[in-house]
Amino acid sequence: MASRFKSRASGVSLIAICVASFATAQDQGVTYTFFGTPGLLEMPTAVAPAEGEVAATIGIFGPYQRNSFTYQVTDRLSATFRYGSTDDYSLPGFNPPRNGNVYFDRSFDLRYKITDQDGWRPSVSVGLQDFLGTGQYGGEYVVATRTIGDAFRVTAGLGWGRLASAGGFDNPLGVISSSFEDRPGLDFGLGGEVEANQFFRGDAALFGGVEWSVADDWVLKAEYSSDANAREEQLGSIDVASPLNFGATWTPRPGVQLSAAYLYGSEIGLSGTIAFNPNNRPVDGGFDSPPVPVMVRQGDAAAALSWDRAADPQDDLRAQLRRGLSREGISLEAFEFSDRAARVRYSNNRYSTEAQAMGRVARVMTDVLPPSMETFTLEPMSRGIPISAATIQRRDLEQFELQAGGTQAMQDRIALNDAGSNQGLTVVPDEDPFFWGISPFFGVTLFDGDNPVRANYGVRLSASYELASNLVVSGSIRKSLRRNLSVGAISPSPLPPVRREGGRYAVEGDGGIQDLSLAYFGRPGEDLYSRVSVGLLEPAFGGVSTELLYNPVNTSWAVGGELNYVMQRDFDLWGFQDYDVVTGHVSLYYDFDNGFHSRVDVGRYLAGDWGATFTLDREFDNGWRLGGYFTLTDVSAEEFGEGSFDKGIRLSVPLDYIVSTPTRRRYNNTLSSLSRDGGARLRVSGRLYEEVRDGHANDLDDGWGRFWR
């Protein structure tokens, strides 16, 4: 009998019969707590969902509302970001709250699964709860869970901090060192700093519970909680009558969990979780329109050594190639034809991976070009500059298009190099260099100290004109339709107000020019890329931005430098203020080739502070990116203000994942701590690394399965 603790995976096979089931590495039937972490009701368990799973949970009971995002970063490591509110609450050491005061707080958790269940040995996880905030929920735990048979799961754990506030006893780690026996008082200061001197210190307490999966979609839970809710009870916002909690979780459909519980002998709680996994695309491969089939040369045609220019004049070939590529959403930018070879530069406007665009270009070339042209060189372009050159033999295209293993065979045979020179190329002018667009915009600030959501949305009008393919004037204006921004909601600091007045720009500058700049992109040498941007670069700053990137096509690393001189713009977006600054960074990019991409930027920030930004993203081959960053500069926590330093979570979703038809559009968002002035960078578009990486070996490799798509 299959385990009832099973993953309610989606995906319906229409006709085919699956004859075998598969063991999966992750735990089955993971449900989430009121804290939004895998576990019982309030207490954690040691189980972990599948790598990549993202779960958004809202848990409400008594004075608490907790909104949590949990992300299973690897098979073993997970991270939680939580924005919670507590009615009638103030932190220990502060005056009791005024009546009706709601306390808002952000918190971060980390947990690591040390061992998997094996035989009679249970899974074991260790976790830090609210380790990077003001510490309302601060606690640590080690927990063991064992799934027994097909429907029972038993958990027992040892907690510290808040998780030892009920039933605490002397810390067993005191055997190692007496320093573990006492937990130092929390010096939360401005929040946002790791409270490592508290970890696993002070009294410890036992917690635990059982889960019983009574049906595929129902799990009953009972737990003993070691959380006394001490401060909340002291303030009278909750009555803890019992440490025992009881509840049930219903999974009406895959990815949706609804829970109800009777908590602490006094409260009814409700929680809901939506979980999804970027690994699981709604439609494998997407509904891209069919490509032109490879035209296989028949008989002696492949042996032709020269191009019959009378039968196939160059102008005709150019027109046919341009038309064929245009049908694929690809612009022909330049070409070079000879008897035995053809070189083509193009811009991919449709496909999320350059590998797929490459496959489409190659097929159109087989359809259009004379049979003597055996060697094809494809040079994808971005921002008007070539980013790589893939050399393909036409006979390989003819041989491998329909052969099992043909995708890998093509990859093995393609030579990837830096793009060639402009010499010999005939440039194809853009027929319509003017572009305009209208789109909605959303500015959402989440989880500030006073209001969970501040939103600003409206309409954005943008336009651009290509003086040359790599020299573009572009600009945009936007008009707000509705907003609840608060001017001056962020408290001042001694630093120049380079970012904290963002609300004033949105309010006073509404309807004004957001950006208007001239950008030039170049290839100053082999493996080198350059950018110069001049004008109103972003709503808050205008000036000059320059950048140089060294990024060989076949390496996992790149190094770049950026130097900017900018002046701060007026809030109404018409003139400039007195503040100007030279800012810039040296950046190192590294692709670990296991789905993780890292980046370190070292330099001077907008407020004149010096420091470094560290970024780590998990990038799925289907285009999802989820990661985080933090910036440390010579600005002290006191000068920085609430949050102590800049940090945040980055999310980028390829739109073709959602709509399942090809598009290069993405939805990007950053959940950051408050927009403060320390560690702030210029927001200039067209930064080089993101522009060129799609055409380089690692990114091509990630999307190579789409070459023949």
Binding site: G11, S13, L14, I15, A16, I17, C18, V19, N279, N280, R281, P282, V283, D284, G285, G286, F287, D288, S289, P290, P291, V292, P293, V296, Q298, N349, R350, T353, L402, Q403, A404, G405, G406, T407, D432, F435, G437, I438, S439, P440, F442, R460, F620, D621, N622, L655, D656, I658, V659, T661, P662, T663, R665, Y667, G703, W704, G705, R706, W708, R709
Partner: protein, 218 residues
């Protein structure tokens, strides 16, 4: 469709319209649910696929066939768009393409979880021999843009003569059933072969999500 209206609306809110010739797929998708969006963006007014007029079909019926993928609904016409040696590619009126080598399905495009490529020469040889065994290798695309390869062992047997409806006519043909198994999937293809040895109709496996493809000569 697996999409929910909610997902569609969410996607629309992330999109926009522009002078760019590149269509915005978000609007095309949204237009399926909300006709007004199609009216504004022109997504509804796309011309029908060219080359499928009844006059075209009656003038050259051998360049057309009837195809059906059950998840896409009723049978539609398909036009021969490419011939390379023994390989033929057909473009269906509802937008997908299917490529056959010696009448054995070796690739599809535009069906989501497509059959990227297949090596299946043994099947045709077994049908010609009146039955036998064959090995197939199928490539399909996974949800991380990776190629997933599966190897099948197949048995081909004759299942007698029967009348087969080709859509506009009925012919008498010998049915061959091909049963294939890998360590995780099994499927059964059917082929109806006329007296001259031509496959007049077939029902062939694509992938688990896309299902089967029926194609009949007109």
């Amino acid at each position: 469709m697996k999409y929910s209206l909610f997902a569609t609306l969410s996607a629309v809110l992330l999109a926009g319209c522009s002078s760019n010739v590149e269509r915005n797929p978000v609007f095309d998708l949204a237009a399926q649910f909300i006709p007004a969006i199609g009216a504004v963006t022109g997504a509804e007014n796309r011309p029908a696929a060219p080359g499928f007029d009844p006059a075209d079909i009656s003038a050259n019926p051998s360049n057309f066939s009837l195809v059906q993928v059950p998840m896409l609904g009723d049978p539609v016409a398909a036009r021969l768009i490419s011939v390379s040696g023994r390989t033929q590619t057909w473009l269906a009126q509802n937008g997908f393409s299917a490529t056959y080598r010696d009448e054995i399905l070796v690739a599809t495009r535009g069906l989501g979880e497509d059959l990227i490529a297949a090596t299946a020469q043994g099947t045709r040889a077994a049908i010609r021999a009146g039955g036998g065994s064959a090995v197939r290798v199928h490539d399909r695309i996974g949800n991380q843009n990776e190629i997933l390869q599966e190897r099948f062992t197949c048995q081909i047997v004759s299942a007698g003569v029967e009348d087969i409806n080709l859509g506009i006519r009925t012919v008498s043909a010998t049915k061959y059933a091909e049963t294939c198994r890998s360590d995780r999937t099994q499927f059964e293809n059917s082929y109806w072969v006329d007296g001259a040895g031509r496959i007049m109709s077939s029902l062939q496996f694509i992938t688990r999500d896309a299902g089967y493809l029926r194609r009949s000569a007109l």
